[in-house]
Amino acid sequence: MSIKGKAYIMGAFEHPTRDAPDKSTPQLHAECAIGALADAGLSHDDIDGYFCAGDAPGFGGLSMVDYMGLKNVRHLDSTETGGSSYLLHVGHAAQAIAEGKCSVALITLAGRPRQARGGGGRGGGGEPAPEAGFENIYGGSTHNTYGMCAMRHMYEYGTTSEQLAWIKVAASHHAQWNEHAFLKDVVTVEQVVNSRMIADPLHLLDCCVVTDGGGALLVVSPEVAKSLNRPKVKIMGAGEAPKGPRGGLDLDLTHSGAVWSGPRAFEEAGVKPADIKYASIYDSFTITVLMQLEDLGFCEKGQGGKFVSDGNLISGVGKLPFNTDGGGLCNNHPTNRGGITKVIEAVRQLRGEAHPKVQVPNCDLAIAHGTGGSLGTRHGSATVIMEREG
């Protein structure tokens, strides 16, 4: 069974806050839900499916369904893969809708990492991870585990810091037009490579922002979509894949799970990378983007450095406009999880509602792709391909 054309994203909302000392995390989730409902023209009681991940407080989905007073929920999913969770949720929501398990699925993300540093995302369960005794003791963070990927990529393929910097430069060119962006200043390659070293070879400006906030999506059935007065964003294909060192014999830090989730999504959608007009690519770090672009097939493996150079990712300048909201590198990375904002900007592009300075002309096919966990240890990869209908 395929999900192609079986569900639509009809509501999308990105919370405008980037610093929320005065709001609770459940409150932010609910505000995002309200925003997505208003965007779609749907009501609270229309929601019959709810999706959330590890950022949802307390009992996750149970706590949030009750907090928001969702009385008609008949399908609940709290798949947790870190920041990519919400991309998986889009695929899972489309499956549930295709099978008649629900018709209006709400996905929310929210959190406040700026208020309590280190209190961001969490995994599932109360027991320590099985690898904890052998890994958590070495001071691994997102910075230095992604740094290890960049170091190896440079070693194998000759990728340079200047090439990675172009990814940040492109994001900053887009962020200047986003009134809500956390960082709005356009930066140069020189500024990126001369910024403070955080974890070799990643500089401060190779890293994403830390922001409070959140977002929500509404994935609905074709019947519900038809009843709404909004441009239709049809889900065409979805793929997901976990990847890890698997006993230490499969360690390969220059490839991401996109090598599997990408082809699955492209095959289901019946399209190829060259058909994509706009790409939302998870950008926790510059290296994240480079590896995923290669693995999704936008260029040959190892050629990502050349591909992203000279503004090739800048809307109106290059061949593959990416993260036109400014992405996680400049705009927003709410509660250290960037998956939902990737889908939200793709929806804006497909609706023709991106900022005029970054809107891709005739944007009828888009991809949103992300990675949760760490590319340097184990991660969940997810790809969603969407099409504008009509």
């Binding site: 070495y138 403070r196 990643l202 060192p245 230490g248």
Partner: protein, 138 residues
């Protein structure tokens, strides 16, 4: 502060006590004696890391502890500069037996590491737990 530390100084980092459970207790008992153990599966013959009761390659429960000289080469590394106690290096070592091991590199300056460098295990004391494996240039 890390920014002003002498670049020739060798990196060290205080390491917290590891999580020990019934499945991994023999590893930590051996670590206290300075012996580095890995696990190998009897039916499929493959060594793996981190050590498990069940082989991650064939799911056999017939895995046995094996003492390893703890020698290998650096697969990759990253020196963390955003650290209040000075820079430290995290990275993977590909053991001569095959598996890759996440670790810290010690006894080397921040600019003294390279991919492919030969390294050997040693044990570092932790805060209230058994010593843990770290690697230094061989």
């Amino acid at each position: 502060m890390s920014e002003v530390q002498d670049k020739s100084a060798h990196m060290t980092r205080a390491i917290p006590a590891p999580v020990v459970n019934v499945e991994t207790q023999p590893f930590w008992d051996a670590a206290k004696e300075g012996r580095f153990l890995i696990k190998r599966c009897t039916p499929c013959g493959k060594a793996h890391w981190y050590p498990r009761a069940i082989c991650p390659f064939c799911m056999s429960a017939e895995t046995v502890w094996e003492e390893s000289p703890g020698e290998g080469v650096i697969y990759t590394y990253s020196v963390m500069h955003r650290s209040p106690t000075g820079p430290y290096a995290i990275g993977y070592v590909t053991l001569n037996e095959g598996p890759a091991v996440l670790t810290n590199f010690v006894g080397v300056a921040p600019d003294g590491l390279s991919i492919g460098m030969k390294v050997k295990v040693k044990f570092q004391d932790t805060e209230g737990g058994p010593p843990v494996p770290v690697f230094a240039p061989a």
